[in-house]
């Protein structure tokens, strides 16, 4: 019975923790700009994060090694340090953007000055992380993040063309007016793919598996959580894209702020829809801010060999604790300057795709190493999918920055 409860909670928290501010913005924007035509990228990205999430969880359960242990062992100190700096920079920017997202949601709820709400959001997240153990943080933010289901309900209520929705899960290229439009389409494709495959998700997931003392016997649990949880989480992102396509595109609304997404629930469910959507966003963004702050600390501690688990009280893992507090403080200093959180997250997502190959190659090599993994080594299916996605990620990594420049950050 306990096992089933663990699977159930695991699935729900994976689902509720799937969408963060960057994914929300890119999903709604993708729908508002290109209708359903980028849905196939969502399908592609979801399978990709399932493949590498499963691999990270399996490696953690078998070898008890989190991702940054593996990166340092496999690539050595110098390349590993480069990956660490890049990964933590991306996590820092994402954390800053999520705190900004929390403040924007609070502004819609409380209508107080934005900077005061940034401080309030920062303090709430810092104290929550200090006081609560990891599984409670995951459950509270993951389960309340499920309120985002209102976006799926709203998308269904807006009566999308289900035949077109289904067809657009097959790779396609829509008819666009100019060459520049095709570049913008490619930019959104890469950004959406990257927002689903954000590397922090695998760092955090593998570290969490070790915190929960997973054993090889938990590999099936890992598989079910990753496949079902991430697929359902992706359904939230699909709901957001459909709202963009069904409501914002015909109304010619360019969703520049995360708040534009709540127009869908407002139109369909009125004030109740607005309230539920904002609460869901608050917990989804807040959860992502905490995950990114902890991820930065996990990465640093694992790379340098410090005691690191969050289940320990702060004095039990002091430098690790100091590192996540520092991540929060630095993120606050970035976002309190007044920089647009959406712009921050857009840049962090585009740059994160550049470090994806450096994260996923060592993981793939470890999961395919029979000496380390024994009977739990990658089979032909996992290996083929792993290499396929690695090639895809490498192409996306090469295209990301040129597309960002050519399209002026997706603005055409």
């Amino acid at each position: 019975m306990r096992k089933y409860l663990e699977i159930f909670l695991g699935i729900l928290t994976a689902m509720g923790g799937f969408v963060e501010v960057g994914e929300l913005v890119f999903s709604v924007n993708a729908g508002a700009k290109f209708g359903y035509s980028l849905l196939w990228i969502m399908g592609l990205g979801t399978i990709g994060i399932i493949v590498y999430g499963e691999m990270a969880g399996r490696v953690a359960a078998v070898t008890k090694q989190p991702v940054f242990h593996i990166i340092r062992e496999r690539t050595g100190f110098v390349v590993g340090l480069g990956t660490l700096i890049a990964a933590n920079l991306v996590s820092l920017l994402t954390c800053a953007a999520e705190i900004g997202g929390v403040a924007l949601v609070l502004k819609l709820l409380l209508n107080l000055p934005y900077r005061a709400l940034i401080l309030l959001g920062f303090l709430l997240l810092l104290l929550t992380t200090w006081c609560l153990p990891l599984n409670w943080i995951e459950r509270v933010f993951g389960l309340f993040g499920l309120l985002m289901i209102v976006f799926i309900a709203s998308a269904i209520y807006l009566h999308p063309d289900w035949r077109q929705v289904t067809i657009n899960f097959i790779p396609n290229l829509p008819q666009l007016e100019s060459r520049q439009d095709y570049f913008v389409y490619a930019y959104f494709g890469v950004a959406l793919f990257s927002s689903i495959m954000l590397p922090y998700e695998t760092y955090f997931y593998a570290s969490g598996a070790i915190e929960d003392h997973w054993e090889p016997a938990d590999i099936n649990l890992n598989r079910v959580i990753v496949i079902v949880g991430f697929t359902l989480g992706s359904a939230l992102a699909v709901g957001l894209l459909l709202i963009g396509a069904q409501y914002l595109l015909p109304a010619r609304i360019e969703p520049e702020l995360p708040g534009a997404a709540v127009l869908g629930p407002i139109v369909t469910f009125g004030k109740a829809g607005l309230f539920v959507a904002l609460l869901g966003m608050f917990f989804a963004f807040g959860g992502a801010a905490i995950e990114n702050a902890l991820t930065g600390a996990y990465n640093l501690a694992q790379f340098l060999g410090w005691p690191w688990q969050k289940y320990r009280k702060p004095v039990g893992a002091p430098r690790f604790t100091l590192a996540w507090v520092a991540m929060f403080v630095l993120a606050l200093l970035i976002i309190i300057t007044g920089v647009d959180p959406v712009q921050v997250v857009e840049y962090s997502i585009v740059f994160s795709v550049v470090i994806l190959p450096l994260t996923y190659l060592p993981l793939l090599m470890t999961a395919s190493n029979e000496n380390l993994m024994g009977p739990f080594v990658n089979g032909w299916f996992a290996k083929t999918l792993g290499w396929f996605y690695l090639i895809l990620i490498s192409i996306a990594a090469l295209c990301a920055v040129p597309l960002l420049i050519i399209t002026h950050g997706g603005n055409g």
């Binding site: 410090w306 009280k313 380390l372």
Partner: protein
């Protein structure tokens, strides 16, 4: 161990160090070897920011040492008890002169509520 040869780069370098109480206490940043051709002998593993910085390009070495310090801790090879994916040592971190910074931060954090 079944194998007659130990691949030091694959099985020791950059691996996690655990003290006698299974507390994480750094990474193997370098390996000290003595002797000449045919009679090479591992005498110690080295850890600490001073060693790790030495692997970086010259231009970054000074900056890294300035930020993280120049500490180099030498752990005699006879302290190494078990080599798996981690390197288990025979003494405590305090005895080996490791994790001093960890203890310093712990004392500071201990003054805060709910830290213990």
């Amino acid at each position: 161990m079944k194998e007659k040869h130990l691949n030091l780069v694959q099985m020791v370098l950059d691996h996690q160090l655990l003290d006698a109480n299974y507390v994480e206490c750094g990474k193997v940043a370098d390996i000290e070897i003595e002797g000449g051709p045919g009679e090479l002998r591992v005498t110690a593993v080295l850890t600490g920011p001073g060693v790790a910085a030495g692997h970086l390009p010259r231009i970054l070495q000074a900056l890294t040492k300035k930020i993280f310090g120049r500490r180099v801790t030498r752990i005699p090879w006879n302290e190494v008890r078990v080599i798996t994916s981690q390197i288990k040592l025979g003494s405590t971190a305090a005895h080996l002169g490791l994790n001093a910074a960890e203890q310093k931060v712990a004392r500071w954090l201990a003054r805060l509520p709910l830290a213990k």
